[in-house]
């Protein structure tokens, strides 16, 4: 890679760090681990994204915002390609992303438990308590397995009584 190309991809990463997720606007697409690669080609930049959920309605908006940001930074032409494998994991959210989620009032995901042969648990299943993002109490309960977007569930703190969202570990 030439020096100019390296500088260009670096600038692209910097521009992408400013592209906020439309559904969790506290985090950038880089914080979320959606941007997998920025590749310099002869005919322009290729931004490789991995979508979070199959049905995530934000995917199209994100693609457009990414291209707009590259244009605004004067780094075009560019194109976005989708890479499905390996599937996106909440483990890809950066440490900084986790902090931003917490500040925004969303409990960040814990580590994804051993992927693969996790049996369904019906008997005696205990949800690990998600700490309240507001007061830090571990005395919380899950209200709903599904939340306002595909990536979140809904919880309530039993101490400060505030409801809050939790980014699901997947």
């Amino acid at each position: 890679m030439t020096v100019a190309a390296a500088a260009r991809t670096e600038s692209a990463w910097a521009a992408l760090k400013e592209v906020l997720d439309p559904e969790v606007p506290a985090l950038s697409v880089v914080d979320l681990g959606l941007v997998r690669e920025v590749i310099e080609h002869d005919d322009g930049l290729e931004i490789v994204l991995t979508p979070t959920y199959s049905g995530c309605p934000a995917t199209e908006v994100i693609t457009r915002s990414v291209l707009d940001a590259i244009d605004a930074a004067g780094l075009g032409p560019a194109r976005v390609t989708m890479r499905r494998a390996p599937a996106w994991s909440s483990d890809w959210i950066s440490a900084e992303g986790g902090r931003k989620l917490l500040e925004y009032g969303i409990a960040p995901p814990g580590p994804v438990l051993v992927d693969g042969a996790v049996p369904i648990r019906i008997v005696g299943r205990r949800q690990a308590a998600v700490p309240c993002p507001r007061c830090g109490s571990a005395r919380t309960e899950r209200l709903s397995a599904f939340g306002s977007t595909a990536c979140k569930s809904l919880h309530r703190c039993l101490d400060c009584r505030e409801p809050f969202e939790h980014f699901k570990p997947i």
Partner: protein
């Protein structure tokens, strides 16, 4: 554009369509609950699951369009086929019924889909394997949610139990179709595309037995009836579903927003 498209009769394409249409049609049925579920949390849950299913179906239909050699896109395949060219098993298209019916159908189909995605993750088709890797995570979550509700309702009040038993008696009639093989399965296994559907039967029954056991619901006996949606011969409910689903693209060809 609003006239129907025809699907080449290749077994590999039919294998993909059987799966894409299961997701599409079940997603359409779950979407019908939006604004009608018994509690707000479930309204959100069913709409969320519908979104996942439709997202999975979009990926599969795009792939099927590429493999068809006809250049069809996901929208054409979703909205412009005639009934006989939809290949979902009949179970997916049955009317949504009451909440117990929807929960138990989700138990049956999310377990089946989870096992299917696990196996398709090793498909010789890299794109299909990638779609499966993503969908598997979602199907696991759906299955856990459906199982939780099955236990709550089956081992619940007299009324919830009565409704579960009635739902299961109907749903069970349509389950043999999920495990019967034909030339499509033979071609898919030969090509390494994915498992023959019969291979899912044993692990499916083991997981279903565990869930229904905990829900204190008995597994119904096997009936002689066989449904045939995956060969394009659907129940009387399918036409009504398609009329609603296809209306916009048929009336406003190529409409986008």
């Amino acid at each position: 554009m609003s006239s129907s498209i025809k699907i080449p009769a290749t077994p590999e394409l039919h294998y993909l369509l059987r799966l894409s249409d299961t997701c599409l049609i079940l997603g359409q049925r779950l979407g019908e609950w939006c604004g009608h579920a018994p509690i707000l949390e479930e309204d959100i849950a069913l709409s969320n699951m519908a979104l996942d299913l439709i997202g999975q179906s979009r990926a599969l239909l795009t792939l099927a369009g590429q493999r068809s050699g006809e250049g069809y896109d996901e929208d054409q395949l979703a909205f412009l086929r005639d009934e006989i060219d939809y290949r979902n098993p009949t179970l997916a298209e049955l009317p949504r019924g009451d909440f117990a019916f929807t929960v138990l159908r989700n138990v049956i189909l999310s377990t089946w889909l989870k096992l299917m995605w696990e196996r398709l993750h090793d498909s010789s088709d890299a794109e299909l394997a990638a779609i499966a890797g993503k969908a598997l995570k979602e199907a696991r979550y759906h299955q856990q949610h459906a199982a939780d509700w099955a236990v709550r309702l089956g081992d619940g009040t007299d009324e919830s139990r009565r409704r579960c038993e009635a739902a299961l008696a109907t749903l069970w009639l349509y389950t043999p179709e999920l495990f019967e093989d034909d030339a499509v399965d033979a071609a898919a296994t030969a090509a390494g595309l994915g498992p023959a559907w019969s291979q899912l039967r044993e692990p499916w029954l083991a997981e279903i037995s565990e869930i229904l056991g905990e829900a204190t619901l008995a597994i119904p006996g096997e009936a002689a009836f066989r449904s045939s949606g995956k060969r394009g011969l659907h129940s009387e409910h399918m036409g009504y579903l398609l009329v609603e689903m296809q209306y916009l693209q048929r009336s406003y060809p190529g409409g986008a927003w």
